[in-house]
Amino acid sequence: MKRLANIYRLGVKELRSLYRDPVLLFFIIWVFSGGIYTVATATTQELNNAPIAVVDEDQSQLSTRIIHAFYGPYFKTPELITLDAIDPGMDAGLYTFVLDIPPDFERDLLAGQQPTIQVNVDATMMTQAFIGSSYIQNIVTGEINEFMQAYRAETTLPIGLAVRTKFNPNLTSTWFGSVMEVINNITMLAIVLTGAAVIREREHGTLEHLLVMPLTSFEIMTAKIWAMSLVVLAAAALSLQFMVQGLLAVPIAGSVTLFLCGAVLHLFATASMGVFLGTIARSMPQFGLLMILIIMPLQMLSGGVTPRESMPELVQNIMLAAPTTHFVSFAQAILYRGAGFEVVWPRFLALIVIGTIFFLAALAFFRKSLNTAQM
């Protein structure tokens, strides 16, 4: 009972301290509101406004049709350039795609000579390059087929193919971007807030003060974890409600409550991690650098930015120990695909295990770190 009361009191103290730090408060609010809005509306993982140029050496009816087939939102209005403008334009990164329609294309086509259209793709633009080139192939083929229909009988393929996309039928990237940003912010803030809270207490000498009181390291740590988790959870919940579902009008497939339950487990794990890092680092600048070294891989390799299955086997296995991998996995399952508890429970379990390990490690280090501190 006394323990619970202590944990409660200390947590309230954390909340009050946070309330008095306007800069930090502003940033928490910003990352969950404006930050999400800008990311969601600006990033385009699917093809959007791809810069394209066309060298029209044919100047025929068909070539004009092909040029007009490229329009927004997938492509920018094609720029008509000359042959020798291809290299400088692509070098400067002005165009990701350049189409070269050869001379006499239409005539050769009608003569059945199977002419070739060249598509130059800037392959350093990984995201756009592949998707864009398959779009271009479809569009060009479609235009040619339509054009030819006027002259030849239609040929059908022996097997039809109906491709449907589940969970996000139009592949709108706002859906993906906004929710992923909420997920990433949860991880980042949980680590930053708790870790920094530990260091601030140590730098100000208040930690020692707590340790000579009838309090245990367990109580001090737990208080920080619940208080900071609560802040992040509340901010995330509000953000999902008003930013993601409200302003950005992104439909959430599954139960937000289930997601938040999982988020609590994730927060337990990441906030413990924050305490752990705060214990290892000796000063705030050190914590900052350490945090970056930890957060970057946690987020980049979790499967939230790029698909997990494309990573090297070793990386995939190592990342199984990271809470973000499980968090991203169940968050995507619940929020995008509407999965229920029966689907995501193994992930929840993994988070509990990881969280407990981090928590115990942090606890073990907590008091020890004080002993090595001089003065």
Binding site: K2, L10, K13, R16, S17, V23, G35, T38, V39, A42, T43, T44, Q45, E46, L47, A50, D91, A92, G93, T96, G112, Q114, T116, I117, V119, V121, A123, T127, N138, V140, T141, I144, T155, L157, P158, G160, L161, A162, R164, T165, F167, P169, L171, T172, S173, F176, H209, M213, P214, M284, L293, P297, E309, S310, Q332, Y336, R337, R367, L370, M375
Partner: protein
């Protein structure tokens, strides 16, 4: 002496939030003498000095110093080299990792002294302060007294006309204190025109000054020579005189404090026992075989200077630090860090302020009352009692960090006794507390000891407090010199006062720097060359750059992170991030189960992009397995597929793709369609023996710059810009905000260094470090990842130089907005992470962004360096193709510097 007064203040007021620090001050400070500003803490002494020195911005009123208006920045710049300011706090303007010599050298350079002049002055100052043997010791490892001496040396390096010292001897042992004042006197003998302005809470020191200003509550009580003040109030000493000068309501209830003798009621039972306690940190012995026994109800004092081991001993008693050797026990139980029950019986007040600065006075008291589990009903009453007792009434709703030092200490005391402990361990509880409050506090202590039997273990550097203890231990350099009742100690040394006794003990122990008394008087150096203040000076700039480099070099962890961190992240990101979509898990719901359908499936599972998972049995299972994310793709082959195919009835295969991650879904769709057409061609060839005409034209796709279409070639050159903005910006932002937090920013306010010199000087070392990590990253790219550098390395290096300059400039800009390191950290992380990952063209070109994202993309340096890095790495481009991006990148540098310059203030607000 041309000037009659060195400073003239008229109607000066200063407020911090609601509390008035100075209230309509009118003051004329005579020139050429030693002026003391006396009064307890929190009465406005520091604010007054900060205004006179030009460090703090004037709110209302007129301040004239050295014949000019301190509101005019031109006048401030002109007289800045004539003023020296030493802020409050032990070595607050010093750099702790720098050696004694390096600290002095830094200040000398700021004042534009030539090499020979610098060395001559430094040698002279070190000689006369007795610091010569410690020339190469880091400032952080000096004792408190030596730190103050070093601070004084730094202030005196440029022969100021006005020397301003804010509580220079607080927390310093008596021997060092005596030496400090001897030093000041010798300096004044040498340069007679110099005015010295000292704030102090030690009345005994002030008695030797020429002229005094007694202050209380932001007002001036009286001015005049010590003799005048004493005669005016009819007191024998200044302590008493000051109390007499206080307004009636403050004096009320104050009387000479008398310690009643101990009634030996609890004789024999020991409260605290320590034997042979020793603590070593590495090869440094902080506490050396300390033994003592404290009886219940006794007041036991530890007398000694800062850094002599008092604090460490106390921490061992509380269980905060384990002893290296020896043992300690409380109430007969050995000290055990896990013993919660004992902690309820102990009250601890650590040195310095250790409460929650952001909580109000009441919140702090309530929190501690609750954590000690006082009975619910009594908490409020007890808190109010404490507020009353410690006179905190007017501060109740004020955040603790906003309180003046003295008031904060009072609050700490209140917190330490709120749960009525049986043992009180107080580490320098009264440093900085005014005499009246100190007596009040001791009254409480005596009451606790005598009437309630509380054992009190207190450390102090005040002699008069030590005299009130039942027994004291004299501590120096980790050892107890002697231990007895104060009277016995005085008797043993055959001197008159405890102070003299202590000094005798110290001299016997061969205290550091005790050879100061050697009268080395070197003729003052004539300054050969005076830097015109205000003008831009490379010397001052490099002085800051040099100092920052030294600090960075002395912080191996920060340095390692800065250099190795980038390389480590490069490994992780280079191997981990891949935009190649491969190994997609798929499963098939085959409703036909014919050889034809199996043939189609085999075609897919043979692809390197797909990995087959156990087959599906029905639609519900398909739904469920896709929901869990186990399957990225699901195929459904209709019944009678094989039959229909043979009869030419065009069966249709349905494919479901997981659209949760749009990028992956798009790519997957491309694969699915591609394989479908390839299969049809293959099938046609096998069954019909010829290729059907399914298209009229060929589309030849050329993947340029990255023929293999491997994401590592595209990603690795993109990761370099990402990493080179993170770490440099964060290091830089912390570098500046750290100075704000630690207080060394005062050197910007108080020395002639300009804002531009400060900013650029601090920036240079970080640019250097970032360039080193840049070379490391390029080496990693080329030799480990095998990504060839096709273009000019020189061009890339130049671009990187522009880029890290801009990145550190961004850090500087962020540091202008943030006050705490934690805020700077969060701000920099968010700003750099968000913008560089999302808006700079790392995954999508900036030209395809919309709205705010596009705007940020165009106004962010990473965008341009990304083009450079990719262009030079993969496209073999050079200056001629990329000059626009070079120019854009270069343009960030003056813009960011200018913005930081505008936002940085040369005065404290």
């Amino acid at each position: 002496m041309a000037e009659l007064s060195v400073a003239h203040l008229h109607d000066v007021s200063l407020c911090y939030s609601q509390i008035a620090a100075l209230d309509k001050i009118d003051l004329e400070i005579p020139a050429g003498c030693m002026v003391g500003i006396i009064g307890p803490d929190g009465v406005g002494k520091s604010s007054l000095l900060a205004l006179i020195s030009g460090v703090r911005k004037i709110q209302t009123g007129q301040v004239e110093v050295l014949d000019g208006d301190m509101r005019s920045s031109r006048h401030r710049t002109n007289i800045c080299p004539r003023i020296a300011y030493m802020p409050q706090g032990l070595g607050r303007n010093l750099y702790m990792t720098l050696s004694v010599f390096e600290n002095l050298d830094f200040f000398a350079r700021l004042f534009g002294q030539s090499r020979t002049e610098r060395h001559q002055r430094i040698d002279e100052l070190l000689e006369s302060t007795g610091l010569t043997p410690f020339r190469d010791r880091p400032a952080g490892k000096l004792s408190g007294g030596m730190k103050q001496k070093l601070g004084l040396c730094c202030a005196l390096i440029h022969d100021p006309d006005l020397l301003i010292l804010d509580e220079p001897t607080t927390g310093v042992d008596p021997l060092s204190r005596r030496q400090f004042w001897q030093l000041i006197h010798r300096i004044r003998e040498r340069s007679t025109g110099m005015s010295v302005l000292v704030a102090t809470a030690y009345m005994d020191e002030a008695e030797a000054f020429d002229w005094l200003v007694a202050m209380d509550a932001g007002r001036i009580l009286a001015t005049g020579s010590p003799q005048e003040l004493m005669t005016r109030s009819g007191s024998a000493n200044l302590d008493a005189a000051f109390i007499e000068l206080l307004p009636e309501e403050k004096r009320r209830g104050h009387k000479e404090l008398i310690v009643p003798p101990r009634t030996s009621q609890a004789e024999g039972s020991l409260a605290i026992k320590a034997w042979n306690l020793t603590k070593r940190f590495g090869d440094f012995t902080a506490v050396n075989q300390v033994s003592f026994e404290i009886e219940r109800g006794e007041i036991f004092g530890f007398l000694g200077s800062n850094g002599c081991g008092k604090t460490t001993t106390m921490k061992m008693l509380t269980g905060l630090l384990p002893a290296t050797e020896g043992q300690a026990s409380l109430f007969g139980h050995p000290v055990d860090a896990k013993d919660i029950a004992t902690r309820n019986r102990v009250g601890f007040m650590s040195q310095g302020f250790s409460l929650y600065g952001e909580l109000t006075v009441r919140q702090n008291l309530l929190l501690h009352a609750q954590l000690f589990h006082l009975p619910q009903g009594q908490i409020v009453a007890r808190v109010n009692e404490m507020i009353e007792h410690f006179k905190l009434n007017i501060y109740v709703e004020e955040p603790a960090e906003k309180l003046p030092l003295g008031i904060r200490q009072r609050l700490s005391l209140a917190v330490a006794v709120i749960h009525q402990p049986e043992i009180l361990i107080l580490d320098e509880p009264t440093s900085g507390v005014d005499p009246v409050a100190r007596d009040n506090f001791w009254e409480l202590l005596i009451n606790l000891s005598r009437n309630e039997g509380v054992t009190i273990f207190v450390s102090t550097h005040f002699m008069n407090e030590a005299e009130r203890c039942d027994r004291i231990s004299l501590m120096h350099a980790g050892r107890v010199l002697d231990s007895d009742t104060p009277a016995a100690l005085v008797a043993k040394r055959q001197v008159k006062t405890l102070e003299e006794a202590f000094i005798a003990y110290l001299e016997e122990a061969g205290g550091e720097g005790s050879n100061t008394s050697s009268e080395v008087v070197v003729p003052p150096v004539v300054s050969h060359r005076k830097q015109r203040p205000g003008a831009f000076s490379l010397l001052r700039l490099f002085s800051y750059a040099r100092r920052e480099t030294l600090e960075l070099k002395r912080d191996p962890i920060r340095l390692t992170f800065a250099l190795l961190g980038t390389v480590l992240l490069m490994f992780i990101l280079g191997y981990g991030i891949t935009l190649d979509v491969e190994n997609l898990p798929f499963a098939v719901l085959d409703r036909d189960q014919s050889p034809q359908s199996r043939d189609y499936i085999q075609n897919i599972s043979g692809s390197r992009y797909f990995i087959e998972r156990p087959a599906l049995y029905d639609q519900a299972e398909l739904e469920q397995r896709m929901r869990s994310g186990e399957l990225s793709v699901a195929y459904e082959i209709p019944p009678d597929y094989g039959k229909d195919l043979k009869r030419g009835r065009t069966p249709e295969i349905a494919v479901w793709i997981d659209g949760a991650m749009p990028y992956r879904a798009e790519t997957t769709r491309g694969y699915v369609e591609g394989m479908h057409y390839a299969y049809i061609l293959d099938l046609a060839q096998r069954t019909l023996g010829g290729i059907p005409r399914i298209s009229y034209a060929d589309i030849a796709v050329r993947y340029r710059y990255n023929q293999d279409f491997k994401s590592i070639y595209a990603m690795v050159p993109a990761v370099i810009p990402l990493l080179l903005i993170f770490i440099p910006a964060i290091l830089m932002a912390l570098g500046v905000v750290r100075e704000k937090e630690l207080g060394s920013i005062t050197n910007l306010y108080a020395t002639p260094v300009t804002r531009l010199e400060f900013l650029l000087g601090k920036q240079l070392p970080y640019i250097g470090v970032s360039m080193i990590s840049f070379f490391g990253l390029v080496a990693l790219c080329v030799f480990v990842f095998g990504v060839p550098l096709k273009g000019s390395f020189l061009a890339l290096t130049l671009g990187a130089l522009f880029y890290v300059t801009a990145a550190t400039g961004l850090g500087l800009l962020i540091s202008a907005f943030t006050r705490t390191q934690i805020a700077a950290l969060a701000a920099t992380a968010v700003v750099t992470l968000l913008a560089s990952v999302n808006f700079s063209g790392m995954t999508d070109p900036v030209s395809s962004l919309d709205g705010a994202g596009a705007l940020i993309g165009h106004l962010y340096p990473t965008t341009y360096f990304l083009i450079l890095s990719r262009g030079i790495f993969t496209k073999a481009l050079g200056f001629s193709e990329l000059y626009r991006d070079f120019l854009a990148l270069a343009a960030f540098i003056p813009v960011l510097t200018l913005l930081s310059l505008i936002l940085l203030r040369k005065q404290e607000k």
